[in-house]
């Protein structure tokens, strides 16, 4: 029998107040189509000597990892698995700008070393002195789901007993301008840093498990609908109010034979390649807190106010026929 995969903790840095759940009761609202992350306090987490070499995404990553590990009671995970669409974008921009302006002779070594995608996951390992499994997935909007699937399979099979799984993407103003053209399906662009500690053993407090992780790159809306069962009563979808983005989700929901309660999160946390990680964060938080704030509800499918929230299903469309379905359940 496969092991269970418990969510021991989650932590986020985004355009909401960082490293807390204040967004549940008082979400920050942002005007315009782009908002950067609210930076966390690094003092006490990262030494000034280390912080001076870190770009913003690395500081956010260390802070979310530290927060999630502290909350979980697990100091040293067996594995660190990370998803990122664009990696250390700010450092990459600086490095390439130097390359254009100064040629190849005056390139800064720190920007070179800390501009790759797997810098993020490796920096956490170096900070923790974790010599376990370390992997980075960079698969666009399926980056987080890929990392989650990797950790979930290893936990279920008993290969590891715990994992720090996260997704991190920074969006510089210049990248935001590019994304507005290359991704017309976006509505509100922001930045994401999310860390979760998964374990084969339950911790203290409510037990929430990752019951299923499924990705496919050849699914029609009917295939997705067929995979969703009667138990998928509350769905956290990647809808954002933009018809270009929402149409595939509408086709899936139309193909279902019974109404479902649909929640959304991108209007609160914004969009980028790591945004689906925030659906995971929101789902885990709602199940733990037994909360369902009205501003998340896109469609009321009959889940009664105050009724126990037993499970949520994360539905993520990653373009064309690429989909992911993640089931979270409170035991």
């Amino acid at each position: 029998m496969a092991n269970r995969c418990y969510i021991r903790s989650v932590a986020q840095v985004s355009c909401q107040q960082p490293l807390c759940d204040d967004w549940l009761s008082a979400p920050l609202s942002h005007d315009g189509s782009y908002a950067g992350a609210v930076e966390p306090q690094t003092r006490g987490v990262i030494s000034p000597g280390d912080a001076r070499r870190m770009g913003k995404i690395l500081k956010r990553t260390v802070c979310t990892a530290y927060s999630a590990l502290t909350s979980s009671g697990i100091e040293m995970p067996d594995a660190i698995v990370t998803g990122t669409g664009m990696g250390c974008m700010e450092n990459s921009e600086k490095f390439l700008t130097d390359l254009v302006l100064n040629g190849e002779h005056c390139l800064k070594p720190t920007l070179f070393m800390q501009s790759t995608h797997n810098t993020i996951s490796s920096l956490v390992a170096i900070t923790l002195k974790c010599h376990g499994y370390n992997n980075t997935y960079s698969h666009g909007a399926l980056s987080f789901d890929s990392a989650l699937l990797d950790a979930w399979l290893q936990l279920r099979s008993g290969g590891i007993a715990s994992a720090l799984v996260g997704a991190h993407d920074e969006v510089t103003p210049s990248l935001a301008r590019i994304l507005e053209h290359t991704h017309p399906e976006y509505a509100f662009i922001s930045e994401t840093s999310m860390a979760a500690v998964l374990s084969a053993e339950a911790g203290e407090g409510p037990a929430v498990v990752v019951e299923d992780v499924r990705m496919a790159n050849n699914w029609t809306a009917e295939d997705v609908a067929a995979y969703l069962g009667d138990e998928d009563r509350v769905i956290i979808a990647g809808t954002n109010g933009n018809a270009l983005n929402d149409e595939p989700y509408a086709r899936v929901l139309d193909a279902l034979d019974a109404p479902r309660t649909v929640l959304r999160y991108k209007h609160v946390f914004g969009e980028n390649f790591s945004a689906p990680a925030m659906a995971f964060y929101v789902g885990a938080t709602l199940l733990t807190r037994q909360a369902m704030p009205a501003f998340l509800v896109e469609k009321d499918g009959g889940h009664g106010a105050g009724a126990p929230l037993e499970s949520v299903t994360l539905l993520n469309h990653a373009g064309l026929a690429a989909w992911s379905v993640v089931r979270l359940r409170r035991l």
């Binding site: 000034p48 001076r52 100064n102 005056c106 800064k108 070594p109």
Partner: protein, 85 residues
């Protein structure tokens, strides 16, 4: 020389991202590595790039590095004798 030392201090703070420091916090004669600012080998690489970019100096002999980067004063002395711009 004093003007060059002050300029180098400001450049070191900027290049190494020493956010909490001002030029007045850096003793020109204090060791840059180990004690003093506590810089390391990656910082040396950053300083080598800075010397080439700002002063046109290309260090051809790595063995000279230890003496050149001993302190801000030794860097200033080397720059004043070898600068190309």
């Amino acid at each position: 020389m004093e003007e060059l030392i002050e300029q180098l201090k400001a450049q070191i703070i900027e290049v190494l991202n020493l956010e909490d420091m001002t030029p007045a916090d850096i003793d020109a004669n204090a060791p840059l590595f180990g004690e003093g600012l506590g810089l390391d080998s990656i910082d040396v690489l950053e300083l080598i790039v800075m010397l080439e970019k700002e002063y046109g100096i290309r260090l051809s002999n790595p063995a000279e590095g230890k003496a050149i980067f001993a302190s801000v004063a030794t860097i200033a002395d080397y720059v004043s004798k070898n600068r190309k711009k």
